[in-house]
């Protein structure tokens, strides 16, 4: 069995006396698609922030792509793509300028071709030179998706990725990320109707703690996968 792409042991984030994330231990296999569910304030965004290396854990440890998340190594950051709650793009710049800037930060080779490919796929190629501030929320999200994929990461951390997207945008998200073979994805989501169509595992958080773990790397997830595999063979 291959090593988990994402693994946490006792991961905790404390602000003052409040444990926003408490003792989270999960393992996510390479290439798997995991839905992170839970009510508002359950700790999903903070957990993703720690995995993305942006938030320093108070206790416990986490490895992503074999690298510890703290201190964050450049090699790790090259392998992670993040689609956060905010689009994280410059409103005053055009989509083309946004991608050109982030391509320089990531030292992307063949940046122009990569940016063109992504802008075409997210449907913003025709508007690549318009200032982003005139875009709708869904178009911002499409651009954010292109930014997250620009450096061809193999691990994607998504926070409510469907936000603002129309059905066509959701289809693009599905094609590029959620159903893309080989990509390891953890996505915090409230769209439970959509989860079943792309995820092969679920981690449910409640007040910072894992209350259900059915990921491919977990014991219950492994049992579920074996059951599903057995059922498949029987068919």
């Amino acid at each position: 069995m291959s090593a988990p792409a994402i693994e946490t042991r006792g991961l905790t984030k404390r602000y003052g006396t409040l444990d926003v994330v408490r003792d989270v231990t999960i393992a996510v296999g390479p290439g798997s698609k995991t839905a992170l569910t839970g009510a508002n304030g359950a700790g999903k965004t903070t957990l993703l922030g720690m995995l993305a290396t942006l938030i320093v854990p108070s206790a416990g440890e986490a490895t992503v792509a074999g690298h510890p998340v703290q201190p964050p190594a450049p090699a790790l950051r090259r392998r992670i793509g993040v689609l956060a709650h905010l689009p994280m793009v410059y409103e005053e710049l055009s989509p083309w300028e946004n991608l050109a800037f982030f391509a320089r930060l990531y030292a992307v080779e063949g940046a122009a071709a990569r940016a063109e490919e992504l802008l075409r796929r997210v449907g913003l190629w025709a508007r690549r030179h318009e200032p982003t501030h005139v875009f709708s929320r869904g178009q911002h999200q499409r651009l954010a998706l292109a930014r997250a994929l620009l450096h061809a990461p193999d691990i994607l951390l998504l926070d409510e990725p469907e936000t603002g997207l129309d059905p066509e945008g959701v289809a693009v998200l599905d094609e590029l990320v959620l159903r893309a073979p080989g990509l390891t994805v953890i996505a915090a989501t409230h769209r439970l109707d959509h989860v079943a169509s792309w995820s092969d595992g679920t981690v449910h958080l409640d007040r910072g703690q894992v209350v259900e773990d059915a990921t491919r790397g977990s014991a219950s997830g492994a049992r579920a996968a074996a059951t599903a595999g057995g059922a498949g063979e029987a068919q």
Partner: protein
């Protein structure tokens, strides 16, 4: 280096496209100097020693206005986090932001010196004073860039930057005002104020570049 240049270029482009921060800082600076020129005849000998203080007070607040605006925008759009997520070293990002802030502030300062030269009938665009303003601006910007980053993550960001920056900038302001006075021929004693300004500039630049990766941690 490449990341620093990318951040510098991007920030200058943003400053040009969204001119509200720098325009309001420039307007503030121009209005301040204009009011001082009406209030005092600074070219006259008895109040002449006030001129360095007038200049540096105006530089100080113009820089705080403009810097806070730039960092607030990054915090609101989440783009600062997007930069931190990249493999670019945090120090390279800091240098890019500090350089862009410095270039934009220098433009305001040169414009202000030109205006003050006219209003106060005093030659202010001299090589000596240009050096003092440049060195003082390096020290000032390196510290305020660090503190703006810290302040942009706080809820009370509007008051945090001045509250943090002003006490830390006192040594720089004293040295800058004294060095400016000396360059204008005022009797300010024999202390090597320009050298002190240079030492502060080096200390604050090095310190801020080293501390920046810690400041951006959450």
């Amino acid at each position: 280096m490449s990341a620093t240049l990318a951040v510098l270029r991007k920030d200058l482009r943003l400053a040009w496209r969204d001119r509200s921060g720098w325009l309001s800082a420039t307007a503030f600076a121009a209005i301040s100097v204009l009011i001082y020129s009406f209030a005092f005849d600074l070219a006259a000998q008895p109040v002449r020693p006030l001129l360095p203080g007038v200049l540096w007070t105006t530089f100080l607040f113009a820089g705080i206005f403009a810097g806070a605006h730039s960092f607030q925008r990054e915090a609101e759009q989440g783009t600062f986090d997007a930069m931190l997520l990249s493999p670019a070293p945090a120090t390279a990002i800091y240098l890019g932001k500090a350089l862009s802030h410095m270039l934009a502030l220098l433009v305001i300062e040169v414009a202000l010196l030109l205006l003050a030269t006219i209003l106060f009938s005093t030659a202010l665009l001299t090589p000596d004073l240009a050096l003092i303003v440049l060195v003082g601006t390096v020290g000032y910007v390196s510290l305020t860039t660090l503190l703006s980053t810290l302040g942009s993550r706080a809820r009370a960001r509007a008051v945090l930057l001045p509250a943090l920056a002003l006490p830390l900038l006192v040594p720089l302001l004293i040295a800058a005002v004294r060095a400016t006075g000396a360059s204008l021929g005022d009797p300010v004693g024999t202390a090597p104020w320009t050298l002190l300004l240079l030492v502060f500039g080096i200390w604050s630049s090095a310190g801020a570049a080293l501390l920046f990766p810690l400041v951006v941690e959450r």
